[in-house]
Amino acid sequence: MFWSVIAANKRKTVLLIVLMGFFLISSGSMIGMALADAQHPYAAGLIGAAAAGAVWVVMLLVSLFASDSVLLGLTHAREVTRDMYPQLINVVEEMVIAGSLPHMPRIFVVDDPSPNAFAVGKSPEKSCICVTAGLLALCDRDELQGVVAHEIGHIMNRDVLYMTVAATMLGSILFISDMFVRSFRYTSTTRLASRSRRAGGGAAGPLLIVSLLLAIIGPILARVLYFSISRRREYLADATSARLTRYPEGLASALEKIGQSPVMLSAAPSAVAPFYTVNPYRQHISSGAFATHPPLSERIQILRAMSHGAGYTDYLKAYARVTRRRRALLPPADLTERGKVDIRQASRDGCSAPATRAESLRRARDIIRALNDFAFITCACGLRIKVAPEYPKDRIACPRCSRVHSVQRSGAAAVGSVLSASSAMGAPAAARVVCPDQGGGHPSERAVQEARFVPGRWQKIACEICGHGYEISPRFSGKRLVCSGCGAVIRFSRAAGQGGGSSDISA
């Protein structure tokens, strides 16, 4: 638990409530004055303020006492029992034990094919965890555990309190400004015209402009405030997840699967978006002020870079290494961790997959590569990096977890290691980066990397030199990409069809 985060969440919740009250009452009185007759502007302003105050009180009560049912209702979630989803309930109970939560949260499932999850509730005693049916279908036990632990992390750090209040506030601000715009539209033609004639357009004009501005700026402000705060929480919830499950790879591969899933969440109102583990609106993935979630590839890389342990300190180290940010995620005083937290083994189910045709094809290609003096590096995250003999540097960063390896040329001896290497490593096709023949003809020192592009799905590519991650849209049609981090060129070879893709040998 991060005490400073918990305290900050509580403090911010109070601040938000007060600010919203101030904003609502002032804009209510403005609107009242703008719409009223010119004879009694102040009385009308008072009425407006009172109405806004009433709205504020109602909002407050709703957000503190009924927000979970409202939010769960918005997403059409239904509560589930042990008979229906034994594994889900078991996983949640495990995480409750691991996090020493005082109570078991209520568990909900949304019938939505898109994989995602969220948590609501104002305190750990009264919290709910909600997952989609798509998540249950897509993830194995360890991955589900990682996602559930992420949500438990939000509950433990009291993120859900702040987010619940913020979501309700945001919703009602949108509602009020919408009402105002509508009432303005209806009255503008008749009453407003007559009033301005009577008042000579003196007092009503500026007021009208101010209230309009409020109506326009309010929602935008609310959104910026709401979105800019939730990114650090996502990292911290990831850290908690790794610590609770002691298996960062679970959440990492769940996030990877979620990121690759082509299905978008259908029943997600925008006010609920920041609650989800992964932003349901995929097209908004960006690092601007409006992004509620950090880039998925970065979160995955951080989790996979945790090779020494699953504790908070390990996560913070990995975070610093992957993001290269100076500012620490947490004040050092918050790290009350004692001793080392070891990473556990993968659980029994789902750790082996039968060798498919694609698998054997890949192995055959690897043998050819090995004969051509490619260097093979097996990274601790499970990816096998294949380095072409022409690769100019003697160090290489893993495209999946950004660990840096030194490149050693082993010559034909590599063939044997390829033959004997376990095929269960399961390096996904999208992450395979091969550095092809570049020769000396290229201007400057620009390194060229080759990546396979499979049309029709999202995929994540990382620059192998600086580790900068990219999410490539299924509609991406270009042939190359210049890395904005280091200027290296990433070239894409297109995989023909679904099982094909032999083009990368000849490249």
Binding site: E94, M95, I97, A98, Q145, L244, Q345, S347, R348, C351
Partner: protein, 189 residues
């Protein structure tokens, strides 16, 4: 005010400060000890759960794997031994053995596709997995608390308070590393 009074007030202030510290430290130690008790009872609940699960598991498996009497008996015996253990160190030893026996059993199950397809067995296996996880997580929580208490009991100045009121170091619940590693890794395709 004479010099004596000043010295007296000074000493009184120090005495009160010390008293406040002792009370605080004592209460912190009591809270920790209770948390440890609580964490331990959580472990016991989960161990009991595992013990209750095993007869069912053996019952379901019996019909399918009549040739594996030994494996099944090993599990049953390990369970009986674990159920009889009393002290923390006995329990850790017996439970380690039980984990090993279960691991062996699950490895053998690999050879019985019919059993693996049995709905009852699948449900039991999920229960077994979750119970093992719960034991691991409860153990982690317990050991964290024990480490915290031990630090308090050993470190200055809280060790003085701990010594005065007879707080002793807690015992870690270890499942022996070696046998954990020796447990075969089983894959269910």
């Amino acid at each position: 005010m004479s010099a004596g009074t000043i010295v007296f007030i000074f000493l009184a202030v120090i005495a009160v400060a010390v008293l406040i510290y002792v009370v605080g430290a004592y209460n912190a130690l009591v809270i920790l000890r209770n948390q440890i008790k609580n964490a331990w009872s959580q472990i016991e609940v989960q161990l009991k759960r595992r013990h209750d699960l095993i007869p069912n598991l053996v019952e379901v498996a019996k019909g399918y794997m009549s040739h594996e009497r030994q494996t099944l008996e090993a599990v049953t015996q390990a369970r009986a031994k674990a159920a009889g253990a009393k002290s923390v160190s006995d329990i850790s030893r017996a439970e380690t053995a039980l984990s090993g026996a279960i691991g062996q059993f699950l490895a053998v199950v690999e050879n019985y596709p019919d059993l693996k397809a049995n709905q009852n067995f699948l449900a039991l296996q999920e229960e077994l997995t979750t119970t093992e996880n719960r034991i691991a997580f409860a153990r982690q929580a317990y050991n964290d608390q024990v480490l915290f208490l031990n630090n308090k009991v050993e470190m200055f100045p809280s060790n003085i308070v701990a010594g005065m009121f007879g707080f002793r170091k807690g015992q870690f619940f270890e499942l022996e590393e070696q046998s954990e590693r020796a447990a075969p890794r089983v894959s269910f395709g």
